[in-house]
Symmetry: C2
Subunit: 232 residues, 2 copies
């Protein structure tokens, strides 16, 4: 059976955060950094940083560390953000419109180039300079724009169908902002991005850990979230 060689999800997330930190370091004028510094920024361990990077090659020099700019470019390449990604937004309600207009995407090489909505009253209008297309035109527009990634911002009841339409049109990666569980073929990468799901992660953790005696302090979740300054 064919196996899948994919980057561990946790590593993928950390790479993004390393990149954010390297951007910051570059802004500050730092030329080199080390696994220890990167780890400290995220609350991870130095070993984990080196392990993560070692999956993709050798980027540092023993005794010296990493060149900030060099590592930045390497991680951008690994994440695939050394090139531009045309992105579609499906559903231009309140959230969809905000996503369509959100400036930061372009700075990170994601361009919202296509919008879709089922409401004929919205089709043809412009949001942030992009025309809203009908769902019927999805195949055509997605192909023309070379879209492979999409943001799904439709109501829960429309999520499954809209997601399937995206997949048929050739999209292979979807962020699902709808409060619904969507099932797609395994080849499609689908992440839940519904803010209420994320809020539930907070309430779950926050109510699960009501002020405990200090001797039993939180293990702090993964290094990605918020490991403390406090150590013992």
């Amino acid at each position: 059976m064919t196996r899948v060689s994919s980057i561990p999800k946790a590593t993928c997330l950390r790479l993004s955060l390393y990149l954010r930190h390297l951007d910051h370091a570059a802004d500050q004028g730092s030329e080199t950094t080390s696994s220890a510094q990167l780890a400290a920024a995220l609350g991870a361990t130095a070993a984990q940083v080196r392990k993560d990077l070692s999956l993709f090659g050798q980027f540092g020099r023993p005794g010296v560390g990493y060149q900030v700019e060099e590592l930045r470019q390497a991680i951008r390449r690994i994440l695939g953000v050394d090139r531009r990604w045309p992105v579609a937004v499906v559903g231009v309600g309140n959230l969809g419109r905000a996503l369509a207009r959100y400036r930061e995407f372009a700075e990170r090489n994601f361009d919202v180039v296509a919008l879709f909505d089922i409401d004929p009253a919205k089709v043809g209008s412009r949001i942030g300079g992009v025309v809203v297309s009908s769902m019927e035109d999805m195949d055509k527009v997605v192909a023309e724009c070379g879209v492979r990634l999409a943001l799904l911002a439709v109501p829960a009841h429309a999520a499954q169908k809209a997601a399937e339409a995206l997949v048929r049109a050739g999209v292979t990666g979807i962020l699902n902002f709808a409060p619904a569980v969507v099932r797609l073929p395994a080849r499609v990468v689908l992440y839940p991005a519904d803010v209420s799901v994320l809020l539930e992660q907070l309430s779950c953790q926050v109510s699960a850990e009501p002020a405990r005696p200090r001797s039993r302090r939180g293990k702090g979740g993964s290094a990605l979230t918020a490991r403390g300054f406090e150590v013992e």
Copy 2:
């Protein structure tokens, strides 16, 4: 060092998704369900569903399955969403405003009751019926409203300071929508929610720059997302 047994992050996420599915099942009029059905909906295994639930008690009956409504209430209680959570939004730019107005939150028991911005021109204005407060009033407003969760939607350069202000004011859970790495004390739960970080997860998996061939190879990603690329 002592550790706390907190709910595994992955379990927490699945619980949210089980809940979405149970909501759907309840809408459809289903009265019972099984670990196999829940698993199928998410692309997980039945064993995993039962294992997740077994962390919190016994909710099903052998040979019968789970009562949809009963399990729904149980999961709502575990996630802490059987009660209302007052939520603050910091930064009412494009994204912050959309978050402040997003309707779905209230349906899920999260009420946006406080807004903050550093811009004096925005302070005092209303968004979705909530007045924008100044950062100086944060301590007071957060205390008055009993806010423990916050959405951080400020620019990257302001994220660390704003997050620290939230923590000082008593907030213990934060979704970070800013494209910056934020470090906070371990007791605070902090999740990255920056959409560009999420998009990078997609581009990373979709372009799946596979590691140099090694003796070991990756597995297929968690059932929650989707399996990666098939190679070989």
